[in-house]
């Protein structure tokens, strides 16, 4: 009997061990890794069909493609996106048709409640239940609430915000309701659905209003963006990820310089990962002649925190400004209220990223930075106030240096799995007993990748353009840049797959 149980036990382990250990799986992974390449290849292969269609059929074609794309991730959630689209389409029509302001407002509130409750249920239910139980446990009260095993629908935070933006625009009279196909395409547009950017209805609907045609310029610009995106993801983000994972998993084992390198590396990783993803989807969308808004503009070259938020995740920061900060009163309701609005907006920005206190803390830190920045800006403007007498390039470099470091420090909270780890990381970073470094190669690697990111960003920053090379660049240089990008993507970097960080949000 015992032997039979043992045999069964062996049988049960055979399958999962084989599946998890086999290098065959590694090859499966490579196929998954090619998934993004496949999307690009499919887009390129279907371009002739797409451009032979009329405007309406182009939209239908893209809508079908978008739903297929979403089903590829999990077909069960296709119903959610279709129901959400239909209901919000109806809300949009009703808001537009309502005669009086009260009815318009009531419908808007109803629609917001629907959208936020869907988002809240899937994304925040467990977080609030967990926090509620944790808050009452010390008092001996154990509420009978269940944690649910929920799957977060892909891109729910992104398409919910897009829909809310649309409804608010319709409510404000800035946007006429779209037809059902255009609206469904706006919500489910496949390049944007998984991780943004959070597109605006006005810009998007205007572009799909007519038949799209493409020229060589757009094809080259699109492919260039795609290559740059894959370069950032595969050559930078995925390469530094193992170091970051190691440093954040047990910060107490490392010296302060190592931990500092860890912060720098994560700062580069999240930028390369997210902006790389955005470049890929923007490039793919460019091939379809639908421009997606720029989401990053060399953010680490910002001279202050306000500028940083104008350059980092632009679609989210402008969304928060237009649909949260300004409706809350912005800076028009007195100094104290301005600070409260800033803090509230950034706390919600943190919470939007994920149902965890570390994101709330990260948002709180940025809210505080923005409030302090506003305070000092105000006090420095007062006559007679003393300012640091540093001018020109030195001042700019110093400002960039400081901004980069305060942003990098805040990333500790974004990256750490919990507040305790974030605290430990900060503690050992600043603890003088941990002063020193354990690996010179880590310092070298950090400096190297910082130089790579700087090289990518400096030229576009200097000439205020988004690409490394343009059609004006001599063809020899363009060929070399394209070839180097393709070769780096193909032959440099880890062979395993790292999912895009923002897919989690």
């Amino acid at each position: 009997m015992t032997s039979k149980i043992k045999v069964e036990c062996f049988l049960s382990v055979i399958e999962d061990i084989v599946l998890s250990d086999s290098p065959y799986e590694k090859f499966e992974d490579q196929v998954i890794m090619l998934f993004n390449y496949w999307v690009i290849i499919i887009i390129l292969a279907t371009l002739p069909v797409y451009y032979s269609l009329s405007g309406l059929w182009q939209n239908i074609f893209l809508l079908i493609a978008s739903y297929l794309f979403y089903s590829y991730w999990d077909y069960r959630f296709l119903a959610l996106i279709i129901i959400t689209t239909s209901l919000n389409f109806y809300f949009g029509l009703k808001i537009h048709a309502a005669k009086d302001q009260t009815t318009r407002k009531t419908i808007l509130i109803m629609s917001l409640m629907y959208n936020l409750s869907i988002l809240g249920f899937f994304k925040y239910y467990n977080f609030f239940v967990d926090s509620f139980i944790a808050a009452f446990q010390p008092f001996g009260f154990l509420p009978n609430m269940q944690i649910l095993n929920l799957i977060l629908p892909l891109g729910i935070s992104f398409f919910t915000f897009k829909i809310i933006g649309y409804l608010m625009d319709v409510y404000r009279g800035e946007q006429a309701p779209a037809d059902i196909i255009s609206f469904a395409l706006f919500v489910g547009y496949f390049p944007e659905i998984s991780a943004g950017p959070i597109g605006r209805a006005g810009t998007f609907l205007q572009q799909i209003d007519r038949k799209r045609i493409i020229g060589k310029e757009q094809i080259f610009a699109g492919l260039h963006l795609i290559l740059l995106g894959f370069f950032k993801k595969k050559v930078i983000a995925d390469a530094v990820a193992p170091y970051v994972d190691q440093l954040f998993s047990s910060p107490q084992q490392f010296m302060s310089i190592d931990l500092l390198c860890g912060i720098y590396l994560y700062t580069l990783q999240i930028y390369a990962d997210f902006s790389g993803y955005t470049d890929i989807v923007r490039g793919a969308s460019k091939l379809l002649r639908i421009e997606i808004m720029e989401n990053f503009k060399q953010p680490y070259l910002s001279k202050n925190i306000r500028e940083f938020w104008k350059r980092w995740h632009i679609s989210l920061s402008t969304w928060l400004r237009d649909y949260l900060y300004i409706p809350l009163g912005g800076s028009k309701k007195g100094t104290a209220r301005t600070y409260i609005n800033l803090l509230a907006t950034m706390l919600l920005c943190g919470l939007w990223h994920g149902a965890s206190w570390v994101f709330v803390a990260w948002g709180g830190i940025h809210g505080t930075y923005l409030a302090l920045s506003r305070y000092f800006r105000g006090s420095l403007k007062k006559p007679g106030s003393t300012t640091l007498q540093v001018h020109g390039t030195m001042k700019s470099l110093f400002s960039v240096f400081i901004t980069f470091h305060i942003v990098a420090f805040a990333w500790i909270f974004f990256r750490a799995p919990d507040l305790e780890t974030a605290y430990n990381y900060s503690y050992f970073l600043f603890n003088i007993s941990h002063l020193g470094y354990s690996s010179a190669s880590l310092i070298f690697i950090t400096l190297f990748y910082m130089a790579v990111v700087l090289a990518i960003d400096l030229l576009p920053y200097r000439f205020n353009r988004e690409l490394l090379v343009t059609s004006e660049t001599p063809w020899l240089w363009r060929s070399i840049v394209y070839a180097l990008l393709i070769l780096s993507i193909s032959f440099i970097g880890e062979s395993y797959v790292q999912p895009f960080i923002y897919f989690n949000f």
């Binding site: 062996f10 382990v13 196929v31 059609s471 363009r478 394209y482």
Partner: protein, 375 residues
């Protein structure tokens, strides 16, 4: 004439639009790099090896041994169960002429690779002992062999084409033209360039090395004391067992190559721990799979090829105490096994005593064990 052609091509190129020029030049740079990487696959693997097979290839490449009298081919199991010093004493063959070419997790493809790449190995008419095990023929375990990088480096186009899985086949065939398997981290590329600059090459395989199983027994305490752990870890290799015809084909080809040079071939399966065999016999699917494998091995027998298959340690007069984990031998076990194997080979008439040294190697196994130098 050639100048004229060159000028014509150049002026034609100049007339093209800049987009076309960019496209063509990019393609040329990519093609040149791919060709460069493809033809340097094995140099890159030798400098920055990722496979257990590569040190052996490096060794064969550097030393080009061609006077071996006995060659053992196989995985870490073959290295753990053979004691060259005892084999040398028993047979009278110089120890340096007994070659154990092993790489961890090696399967039939690796064994074929050694002989195919360096056929001179077989010039001295050696006795070739090829290790086999049931998992070596499982389609779902290491489809490319344990040293998959080695497969990506040294496999032929036909071998890639013969892979059973369509996705894998396409991936590897595409790699043949666009060598994406040569992807390495920046640090690895840095190491390669540094090694090239200073002319450094990694240490090749040392055929005199003594497996850790023979002297670092404490490192294997978990394996030695926890049989279930060890057996469970290895039984995974039998999971989803499907007999791989293409892996059997590697062995057939290896035998063909060897048979052209020597008529003394042994297919050897060293015994496994009893617990391992119990598990196989306790699961109907695995028993059936094992039978298919054994059937195949026995079909290989002919006047030149002799199979010696020992399932349990008792089959060769040993017991579980000779084995450290599921199937690697400890130091004492290796001495005893070498003696048993030698006797069996002698019985088959594949080795003639005194044929090489002219001395009688008549010593009892127990004397051998106590009298021989141990690590």
């Amino acid at each position: 004439m050639s100048n004229h052609l060159f000028i014509s091509i150049f002026s034609f190129f100049n007339k093209l639009s800049s987009h076309i020029k960019v496209f063509i030049l990019t393609l040329i740079i990519l093609t040149c790099t791919c060709v460069g990487l493809s033809i340097n696959r094995d140099s890159l693997e030798m400098i920055n090896n990722k496979s257990f097979v590569t040190p052996v290839i490096s060794y064969l490449d550097l030393k080009r041994p061609n006077n071996a009298k006995v060659i053992f081919l196989g995985s870490s199991r073959i290295a753990s169960c053979i004691k060259r010093d005892l084999f040398s004493k028993l047979s009278g063959i110089e120890q340096s002429k007994i070659l154990i070419l092993q790489s961890n997790g090696a399967g039939t493809w690796e064994e074929l690779l050694f002989c195919r790449k360096y056929p001179d190995l077989l010039n001295s008419n050696p006795l070739v002992i090829i290790e086999v095990a049931p998992w070596m023929f499982n389609k779902n375990f290491y489809p490319l062999g344990a040293g998959e990088t080695a497969f990506l480096t040294w496999s032929t186009f036909q071998e890639r084409l013969a892979l059973p899985d369509l996705k894998l086949r396409l991936l590897l065939l595409s790699d043949y033209f666009f060598p994406h398997s040569q992807r390495r981290t920046l640090e690895e590329w840095g190491t390669i360039f540094y090694s090239l600059m200073i002319g450094k090459r990694p240490e090749p395989y040392n055929p005199d090395y003594i497996p850790e199983y023979h002297y670092k027994q404490s490192a294997y305490i978990k394996l030695a004391t926890d049989q279930i752990f060890s057996v469970r870890n290895q039984i995974k290799a039998m999971g989803n067992y499907q007999f791989a015809e293409y892996k059997a084909e590697y062995l057939n080809r290896l035998i063909n190559i060897v048979e052209k040079k020597t008529k003394k071939i042994v297919i050897l399966q060293p015994p496994l721990r009893n617990k391992y065999i119990d598990v196989i016999e306790g699961i109907q699917e695995l028993t059936a799979a094992n039978l298919i494998y054994l059937d195949y091995i026995f079909t290989l027998n002919n006047e030149n090829v002799h199979s010696i298959v020992w399932n349990r340690p008792e089959d060769c007069g040993l017991n579980d105490s000779a084995i450290i984990d599921y199937g690697h031998f400890n130091n004492e076990g290796a001495y005893l096994f070498t003696q048993r194997l030698f006797n069996e080979i002698k019985k088959l008439g594949l080795i003639e005593l005194n044929a090489y040294s002219g001395k009688e190697a008549a010593i009892s196994p127990q004397d051998n064990i106590s009298g021989l130098k141990k690590p």
